[in-house]
């Protein structure tokens, strides 16, 4: 003697599974086809790093390696060199000749961003680091550096003497007039 319940129990979880499939089959998916489609991210999402430039095209990074010092996973490698007015990369005397981030090591904590004295390195919610090789996951400076703003020359630039002597400028004075 077999009841419906018996039959169902003998079929195991199969009908339950099918039921779930049919239920969700007609529902709108929550996943997207990355990277063809991208979901909007929070503006403060910490994704891939970019090295920023000033409006005049000079690099913000001064090669100080404080990001590398702050990085808990030792993912950043910086080598600095000296600017001169004929070949200037950044304001002040020092720029990053080599700048590499190992994206496989990075845990996207954003400490590098916190440590940076010039806001040069920013983790942005765009273009997530993916790749097929380990070497390809080491992002070099040319990959990290954002392009120069439209109509502005990139780096190195020839700059007038005395204009870019200091690497770090103070915040603009606070207006305390009443």
């Amino acid at each position: 003697m077999s009841s419906v319940r018996d039959i169902l129990s003998r079929l195991g979880g199969i009908p339950v599974g099918f039921a779930t499939v049919f239920k969700t089959f007609f529902r709108k998916p929550v996943t997207v086809q990355y990277p063809e489609k991208q979901k909007p991210m929070s503006a403060r999402f910490r994704g891939r790093h970019h090295l920023k430039r000033y409006d005049d095209g000079l690099e913000k990074c001064i090669g100080c390696a404080l990001c590398a010092a702050a990085c808990p996973s030792d993912a950043i490698y910086v080598e600095a060199a000296e600017n001169n007015n004929d070949k200037r990369f950044s304001p002040g005397e020092r720029y990053a000749k080599t700048y590499e981030i190992n994206m496989l090591r990075c845990i996207f904590c954003g400490y590098c961003e916190d440590a940076c004295p010039t806001n040069a390195i920013i983790l942005e919610p765009i273009e997530f680091p993916t790749g097929y090789t380990r070497e390809g996951m080491i992002y070099t400076k040319d990959k990290l550096l954002e392009p120069a703003p439209a109509g502005v020359q990139g780096t190195p630039q020839a700059t007038p003497a005395g204009k870019f002597e200091r690497a770090i400028l103070p915040f603009p004075p606070i207006d305390v007039s009443v």
Partner: protein, 748 residues
Amino acid sequence: MADLINLTIDGIPVAVPRGMVIVDAAKKIDNDIPVFCYHPKLKPVGMCRMCLVDVGTPKIDPATKQVVRTEDGKPVIAWMPKLQTACTTPVSEGMAVRTNTKQVLDARNNVLEFLLTSHPLDCPICDKGGECPLQNLTLAHGPGLSRFEYEAKQHNAKHVPLGDLIFLDRERCIQCSRCIRFQDDVADDHVLQFHDRGRHMEIVTFSDPPFDSYFGGNTTDICPVGALTTADFRFKARPWELDSTPSVCTHCPVGCNISLNTRLETRTGGHEIKRVMPRQNEQVNEIWTCDKGRFVHHFTRAEDRLTHPLVRDARGKLVESTWEAALQLVADKARGARVSGVIGDRIANEDAHLFGSLFSDVLKDGAVAMSPAIPAAYADIARAYGVGKDTDFKQLGKGDTILVVNGDLEESAPVWFLRLRQAVVDRGAKLVIAHDRSSKMHRYASRIVTYELGMAAHWASEQTTELSAELKSARNVLIVFGDEKLSAEGARSLARSLANILIESGHAGKANSGLLPLYPHANTQGVFDMLPATTVTTGKVDVAWLVGVGNAADVPQADFTVVQELFLTDIANNADVVLPALSFAERDGSFTSGDRRVQRFYRALPGLGQGKPDWWIIQEVAKRLGATWQYHGTSEVFAQMAQHNPYYAGLSYETLSQAEPQWPPVGRADLYYGGTAYDNSGGIGSRYAAPAEQSGFNSSLEPVVAPPVDMEALQHLPHTLYQDGELIRRSKVLSGHVRAQRKEAETA
């Protein structure tokens, strides 16, 4: 010491020698009073006011002239109305010092606030950042915020080359004058000075060429901010990224203790020396080194280092080969052949010992010699009558005589120059110089003898009796001598005459007395000590085997030549087999300095290419010739050597690596006190006793006849610090100096 002064610092009693200033006394009990302008190696000037402390002395009753005491018998302290500078105030009996009152802490805060009014926000790009006294003291004692308006800040030049080796950042300078005082009081090159006054005061150099000194690098170590940076290290790395390995400088007989600071580098794909820093050894270099030692390190990662064994092929070209093939070829050629071995005097003791053993124990028909050959002619005399085991240059002073013969201390042994100059200028030793020309040391001489070119040996042999009589009354007699313009026989004759002077005046075999030879390199004495006495074969031999030989005149005529080298030098280029060796930075070993101090150096870099240490190469060939050597490292070679070499008996790598606490303490957490020279943790080495010190040694006079002047030796250029060579040529930063000295030599 009998003359101890008792005082209390923050209630803690301390007894220190009379004359010590409060900063140093506090240091004895690990109370770090912050300083900027004070430096334990320089005279105090009291310029920065960072060291202000509260000082009191026991109250004296004017009537009884007795110390006033409280009821329980403690002396009443009369505190001075204002804070005092701890760096200029000497201790006095019963003094009380307070370093932690609110007044003191406020004073520190205020001094820092003043110093920072015009200090730039440079820490991220400043080479001193991370080991900066101003940074550290601001964190510890300074204000967190500036009350000063940005507009009112001074903006000064940031990139001022003071010469080609040192750069000045005028904004960062805090006008402590340490650099000026080092140059004036220690190096005696008066090349820096203050210009203008008040907030406009700045450091200028007025020598031509600018910052003309062999010791300028030291000012960057003691500068308490990043105002002075070296052209070599500028922006090369942050201090916290550097690994540090204790080492010994290879360029002159002083044997300065150094630290090799290394770090990863994309250009070489591996580690690279980023800077060379002095390592404290109060017996050797204190906390200094010369600029040659600091900047001639680029050869270790030069593009043209040899990385593979090279063997000459049938068409007569040197082609890359394997170690196995090359070693076998050398062994086959050497078996049963007449072999002439030559070893350079920059090679470590361990390699030289094995090379010597190869010729005494393994090869049947061979002779071994040291290059350059001239020092080998007198190194036995220099050793026998060398400075006593317990010699301490710091003890030389009043009553002592320093005799400098036929050598230029500053050019040949720059740090000995610093130390002996202080013995004369600061402590009153008498200096007598005999030379054919003038040198910087001549400035301090109380008597100068000038003889004709090449006549040093004649002069010494004629003057022996007279000088001995004169030196009899001296407390100690130190005789520094060089081999300029002399043949091997001439140099030996000079050394012998000087030894006679020591014997006759009663100073042979004593501490703080003896001969101090100005050898050409760091291990001349060591290599000489390691080699067995063999008669040098003349004429053509079957095989010439050259280990680090730089002098073409020392290369024997041979059918087959083997060379162990770092580079494809002219000598290597003519060889049949070239074996790539490792530089001193890529291996460990030991050197014996000109004053017979045996010191260890350690491995700072991985080897380059297939290069191997010299001792390994020698052992591998020896094995193929039937030797049963099984050394796994230099420590085993050294241990074996110490068993058989009487001079080195009792020494081992353990004894050499012992470091005792030194005074003044530098390189610890408080970089503001002594500068960035490194604390010594790798060992201060050990000097072996001079034979003349030992009982049973027969120090008897030997008559000397000076050989005739050697016309060929007269052509030798006197040794200069930056003279052109295979190693210095690869340091671009010094190329201007090398060129200048070459030009000078050509026109001379």
